[in-house]
Assembly symmetry: C2
Homo-oligomer: 383 residues x 2
């Protein structure tokens, strides 16, 4: 197995990009990542693209071919990878394997989602849940995560304020990220007084509907310094599956796929949670940010609420969580999120994160999940 | 790079499977492949699933998670791969890379499509073309391939009867394949008198709408004999992209992605077209069967018509093409086709193909394309 390095990253502005098409976004992200990496487009050997549902959002499947074509990259092998909101994480992992296998040398792993071209994205996002047992019965993602939140509050005494604090810290960080969808800070009171979406979750607990794309360039670790003075190395790339439907779980306050993927990642990297200097977690809803902190091993099960409330996840805290602003503030273009997380960790490791820079960071982690945890992907990156 | 072997294969019956759901089909294919391989389900390390458009066909994305769950395989890492009708070929290739990289040891690569749960599948299939420049302008796949056929007839004198002959041979083979959708032989007259779909293509030039699934089990070549006495080895796995839209091509009678993927495959395997003893080609329409024979290098450009007419592609001909019956007779459940092609070549190499067995076969090839050739995947397999 060849070791793999990241030599270039990019992210488009995230937001409601009315003037920018699916094709425009992914091409912009790809070209910026190529520029960032020091390679030329012709050096590319293969492309992987994470995308959840271009078929339903823009009536276009076969998007890897479309992208290769639009970017002038034919006959480059291009492959779409899909695992709902974890599509980006799996596109990253597929690219890593393509390089590790020796099949390809320089690979671009990208992610993209155009969510604002439809009147109602909610039923489309709901196709990430169990269609027959969940979506068709009228339950969508806010209500699934609301049940998880209620149970977490019941089991562990997690408070409404603690959930709110997760969003507040996200926005504090995101306000320092020029590529974030929401660049404003918010207060606990604003979260607590925002509209109810699915009790106990309110509007400011929920990640938004977002257009955007991101990309990373990978190469064999031994070649990385040919292209850049600041390579970032892939220490672990893991993935696990869990039940797609919530009702099948023994305990809905733990996401088993995260636990499995994290355990494998620490083993692969030879590290423990204490070695991680910053983490980008999948906070599609505030409660999922808390679950991630627990399931990744940063605190014991049930202790994330007080941990967040005490400021331990702020940029200068014990474990900085979502320095980018996370899904809540940076935005959540489904297929792009896993790649944007990796881009953020690379910028942090390079010391290029500006006003949101984590100090003395040597090792970072990304955590990307699909649905309510049917899929989880975990990556550990280091200088 | 580790060498990779196939130790188990399966295919469900292909057809209009009204009593069988998406979940049922893929689970059946997976379990049969496991039984065929000599492994146990718990030995599996990862799964890749090729599927074009479950989002539009059955309103379900995140299908890899659904399948892992349905088959009781959690926390197995499961990934969906999509490249329109080449989704199966790329799922096979992703599985091969996962084993070659050392990330995983025993991998199942499967493919599935449930196409008959919608009133009109044509607009869904059309999302494999360029939505903005083709599908939204009213052109669908029969009409795209009709233009290719017309041009091929104009450039090279290919006749209507030669196109028909491709379907006739497919059905002759498929009538000997108990898993084929259409188990009856047809005549040239029947093809020529079948309904016009898009002139010059008639109903019996077109592959059908099909439900079905298929699977293969992969492992490191060095371990293959632990599980089976008849391993099949992956000699080449390649992929290329071409323009997604037809109007962008210099010459619509050549599918560049096939040419590129084939050239790389022969190089990777150290073989030439003369070394191939049987090939499964992507004949979504009869004309595409002719293009494949040319673009894969079995005859010069423009010569496929007479070659087929002379019986050179029959099971006992110079190069047996589609012993399974091909997309026309076996059926074409989009995401499953690339895997079913590999299963057929494995059965042929093992001598298990019954009445459609190719004699003295040592090396076989599969050729799977997406859309009108936006993606092509080529595999070479041998004993």
């Amino acid at each position: 197995m060849r070791d793999v390095a990241i030599i270039g990253v990019s992210q488009t502005k995230f937001g409601e990009l009315w003037d920018t098409s699916f094709r425009d976004m992914i091409t912009e992200a790809g070209l910026k990542a190529i520029q960032d990496s020091g390679i030329k487009g012709v050096d590319l050997d293969a492309m992987y693209v994470g995308n959840m549902s271009a078929g339903l959002f823009v009536e276009q499947e076969h998007i890897a071919s479309l992208i290769a074509d639009q970017a002038g990259l034919n006959p480059l092998p291009c492959t779409r990878v899909e695992a709902a909101c974890a599509s980006g994480g799996l596109a990253l992992r597929s690219g890593i394997m393509a390089v590790a296998s020796g099949y390809h040398d320089i690979v671009i792993s990208a992610g993209v989602e155009k969510m604002t071209d439809v009147v109602d994205p909610t039923p489309i996002v709901a196709t990430a849940s169990d269609q027959e047992w969940e979506a068709q019965q009228g339950v969508n993602f806010p209500s699934l995560y609301a049940m998880i939140a209620r149970r977490h509050m019941y089991e562990y005494g997690t408070t409404r304020e603690q959930l709110a604090m997760f969003s507040v810290i996200n926005h504090k960080n995101g306000a320092r990220n020029p590529l974030a969808q929401f660049g404003m800070e918010i207060t606990i009171d604003q979260v607590l007084n925002s509209s109810i979406v699915a009790d106990p979750l309110r509007l400011l607990d929920c990640s938004p509907i977002t257009d955007g794309a991101a990309a990373v360039i990978l190469c064999p670790a031994e070649d990385a310094r040919k292209y850049t003075d600041s390579p970032v190395y892939v220490k672990a790339s893991t993935q696990a599956s869990g039940t797609i439907a919530l009702h099948e779980r023994k305990d809905i306050t733990t996401i088993d796929s995260t636990v499995h993927a994290a355990r494998k990642a620490y083993k692969m990297a030879g590290l423990t949670p204490k070695d991680i200097d910053a983490v980008e977690v999948h906070d599609c809803f505030s409660i999922n940010g808390l679950l991630a902190i627990e399931d990744l091993g940063f605190v014991e099960k049930g202790k994330a609420g007080p941990f967040v409330e005490d400021g331990m996840t702020e940029i200068d805290g014990q474990i900085p969580v979502n320095p980018s602003g996370g899904l809540k503030s940076r935005g959540h273009p489904l297929g792009a999120t896993g790649i944007a997380q990796a881009a953020e960790i690379v910028w942090q490791l390079r010391g290029q994160a500006g006003k949101r820079q984590v100090k003395d960071i040597e090792v970072g982690m990304t955590h990307n999940i699909g649905g309510t945890g049917g899929t989880a992907a975990v990556h550990i990156l280091s200088n």
